[in-house]
């Protein structure tokens, strides 16, 4: 009986795993997913809902085991930091934790303190805020540990706000805290919040997020800055290789297999060599530079939305452009994609689904939520999750 149950669980678990969306731009951190999702928008569908939020935020929802985790910030100075847990099915608030910001909360008006997206290893969830406060809680909201990185390092701040989303690799939380004054990236022990390593990083405002490259014991972390890319070992912070031809400080790199698409000189594809200690440059194209959002992966293709609101569909292996089309922008969040469709919202709250063909892309659905949306959606089989400053929405079809 027990073996039978385990067998059944083993059959089902990939479905559960696929249903999760564990970090900024999905569990793979590249905006892509192997699931299929909705092909229409319907706010009226019985599975669609919206829940009011207690504060502002540019962070994206993450999905873990049927729950949605999200951050928000509120108060006259955005000094109250919220971690929220909602039911994925009904959208009801399951629990909320409120903390006090211990770092700086002044931001540019367009962004806010709840800008970075949470991350989970399915056991815990970690929230980082622009104030560089980090909270690790279990899935029931019980506090496990906390850190205040600006409390620790008072010059670790950006007058315009920080937005880098943390990630987890090999039991280490990677927090990129890069700015003009005291710029560093740190590896924090997920078990207890203690610092394992801290690397001095190039001085300069940096809103990009670290990404994972590779899997299992060969997994590395790519850190992006205006200097380029530094691929590091997550357990000790040691650099495996670097790319020093510069990169953007806003859109992040996009990993797929052993390739990293870097917003550098347009877009540059770097391939890590076997063993992960060096890399080769596969291609570079200055027509593929992303705008604010990062590129998204769809199978063996990728998509980029540029500053002029042009969506480009291209091959990962060669950078060959298959088609381009104009979309309704401007878009601040990153697009996300299945193998067949692309999803994004523009700043005015207009959601768009593009059907991805080899010869052309076609807008097959739009939905105007009539709220400012600057964030990236999360995708699940039965719907799309998106937040504004006021509401968290689930849109089914």
């Amino acid at each position: 009986m027990k073996n039978g149950f385990l067998f059944l669980l083993s059959l089902l678990s990939p479905l559960f795993l696929n249903a999760d969306w564990l970090q900024f731009r999905g569990s793979l951190g590249n905006g892509g997913t192997s699931i299929t999702s909705i092909t229409q928008f319907s706010k009226e569908n019985k599975n669609s809902w919206k829940s009011e939020l207690p504060g502002r935020g540019l962070s994206s929802p993450i999905l873990v085991d049927g729950k949605i985790f999200l951050t928000a910030s509120s108060g006259p100075k955005q000094e109250t930091l919220h971690i929220l847990c909602f039911s994925q099915n009904e959208g009801n608030l399951i629990w909320e934790r409120k903390f006090k910001a211990t770092g700086r909360t002044i931001c540019h008006e367009k962004t806010c303190v709840a800008a970075p997206t949470m991350v989970s290893d399915r056991e815990v969830v970690v929230a980082q805020f622009s104030s560089n406060d980090i909270f690790c809680v279990d899935l029931d909201g019980d506090l496990l540990w906390l850190r205040g990185l600006t409390y620790d390092f008072p010059n670790a701040a950006n007058g315009l706000g920080m937005s880098s989303s943390p990630l987890i690799s090999k039991g280490v939380l990677i927090a990129q805290v890069e700015n003009d004054a005291d710029s560093f990236t740190t590896g924090i022990d997920l078990k207890n919040g203690e610092e394992l390593w801290r690397n001095i990083r190039p001085k300069g405002a940096n809103w990009t997020s670290p990404v994972l490259l590779g899997t299992g014991k060969n997994q590395k972390v790519a850190l992006q800055s205006t200097k380029g890319i530094s691929l590091i070992n997550p357990t000790n912070g040691k650099e495996s290789w670097s790319y020093q031809n510069g990169a953007s400080s806003i859109p992040s790199s996009t990993p797929v297999g052993d390739v990293l698409l870097v917003p550098s000189n347009g877009l540059t594809a770097l391939k890590t060599r076997t063993g992960g200690n060096s890399h080769t440059e596969v291609w570079q194209d200055n027509k593929l530079g992303p705008g604010t959002g990062s590129p998204a992966i769809s199978g063996n293709r990728f998509l980029v939305i540029n500053k002029a609101n042009v969506l480009t569909y291209a091959k990962i292996d060669s950078g060959e452009i298959l088609w381009r089309m104009r979309i309704k922008g401007p878009v601040s969040g990153s697009p996300v994609a299945t193998r067949s469709h692309l999803y994004f919202f523009n700043e005015d709250g207009l959601g768009q689904i593009i059907k991805l063909g080899e010869d052309e892309g076609k807008v097959i659905a739009t939905l105007d939520l009539q709220e400012t949306i600057l964030s990236t959606p999360a995708l699940a089989a039965d719907g799309l999750y998106i937040r504004s400053d006021k509401n968290l929405w689930k849109i089914s079809q």
Binding site: K98, T102, N179, A181, N192, E195
Partner: protein, 371 residues
């Protein structure tokens, strides 16, 4: 199963023994004792699950512990109180929480937490208390009472009544945005408001410069004014001898525009000094706003420095640095640096400065600010 039962038994024992027992005091102390860079996290991690199972009667004890905690410990305790409230909404010691809130000897942040508990569990009770915060020493509580008055003023159709409300708000407000709103409305109604005096902004300085800041290196260079002989009358820059010269800003919010003195220069630093007379030795908040890189010394001690340029605009109270004033004369020295950027939004070379107490009330110099 056995593990779960043993945990439940432990938690039951904690609940029975929590009333200020040595054990509970030690558990709470683990949360208070948190230090920077994760120090104390392991002890706190062990203590928190037990503290979060304390009965609601322990909430005043936890609020009192917040008085002693730093900002990190505050957050550990805050999360525990929230968990206790979540599990015991009907058994909160409301009168003791209110008494804690109304006792001004408690710290502002812990009193605010007491208010937040009421706001979450008994919102109407919390709302009733807000008007009483109008002269509260806790800025975050006072702000709520001022907001209530501003809200009434905004919604008042009778102009004389609205003006009286704005006048009251202006006197009581300590937060910059509230002060600005009330003064703006009163000035539109014909009143003349002296914000420099009201907020304690320092308009009169002596300036010395420019000094070289090529490649932003001047930020770290100890030019004459910040050297041991800092306040002597003249120093060398790359072009020769420079002297302290009086500069008085006419800006209504005390903005010192250094470009007015030296022209729109790039890759330069300037120093600003003033003498502040304090009637007593006291703790103070030194509040600077600047979109340029800056350093701040009080009585020869470097309090803080910030090597960042043009990330947002200059704001009042942009940086609040805790320090001390000595009785009598206090020398305030600032270094403000301009970088090499040429975009239109990078031409500002400026700062504002004021000194307040912990409540945000302006401390005024009791003598001339310029020697």
């Amino acid at each position: 199963m056995i593990k779960h039962l043993s945990i439940l038994y432990c938690l039951f024992c904690v609940k029975l023994s929590v009333q200020s027992s040595p054990d509970s005091t030690n558990l709470i102390q683990s949360l208070v004792a948190i230090k920077s860079q994760g120090e104390g996290n392991r002890k706190a991690m062990k203590a928190w699950p037990q503290v979060s199972q304390f009965p609601p009667s322990a909430i005043p004890q936890l609020l009192e512990a917040m008085n002693r905690a730093n900002d990190l410990g505050d957050n550990w305790i805050r999360a525990a109180i929230e968990k206790i409230c979540e599990q015991n909404t009907t058994q909160l010691p409301v009168q003791r929480i209110i008494a804690f809130l109304q006792d001004h000897s408690n710290q502002a942040e812990s009193r605010h937490m007491a208010f937040q508990i009421l706001q979450s569990e008994l919102p109407s009770k919390a709302d009733q208390l807000i008007p009483s915060f109008i002269d509260d020493p806790a800025p975050v509580l006072r702000q709520k009472a001022v907001e209530l008055i501003l809200s009434k003023a905004r919604n008042s159709s009778a102009k004389p009544k609205a003006i009286k409300l704005y006048q009251k708000a202006l006197i009581q407000a300590r937060e910059v945005e509230q002060i600005k709103e009330a003064s703006r409305e009163l000035e539109e109604a014909g009143e003349k408001i002296n914000l420099i005096q009201l907020m304690g902004l320092l308009p009169e300085w002596q300036l010395m410069g420019p000094f070289d800041n090529s490649e932003r290196k001047g930020f770290s260079v100890e030019y004459g004014p910040e050297s041991g002989k800092g306040l002597t009358e003249q120093h060398k820059n790359k072009d020769g001898i420079v002297k302290w010269e009086k500069f008085s800003t006419q800006d209504e919010l005390g903005l010192v525009d250094i470009n007015q003195k030296y022209g729109e220069l790039k890759e330069v630093c300037a120093y600003a000094r003033t003498t502040f007379h304090s009637q007593s030795a006291q703790s103070a908040h030194f509040r600077i706003g600047s979109k340029n890189a800056w350093k701040m010394w009080v009585n020869g001690t470097l309090l803080f420095s910030r090597d960042e340029y043009h990330r947002g605009k200059t704001r009042i109270d942009q940086f609040i640095i805790e320090g001390k004033l000595q009785e009598g004369e206090n020398e305030i020295l600032l270094k403000v640096c301009q970088n090499e950027q040429t975009q239109s939004w990078t031409k500002q070379w400026e700062f504002n400065f004021r000194i307040t107490d912990r409540t945000g009330s302006a401390i005024h110099s009791s003598g001339s600010t310029i020697k």
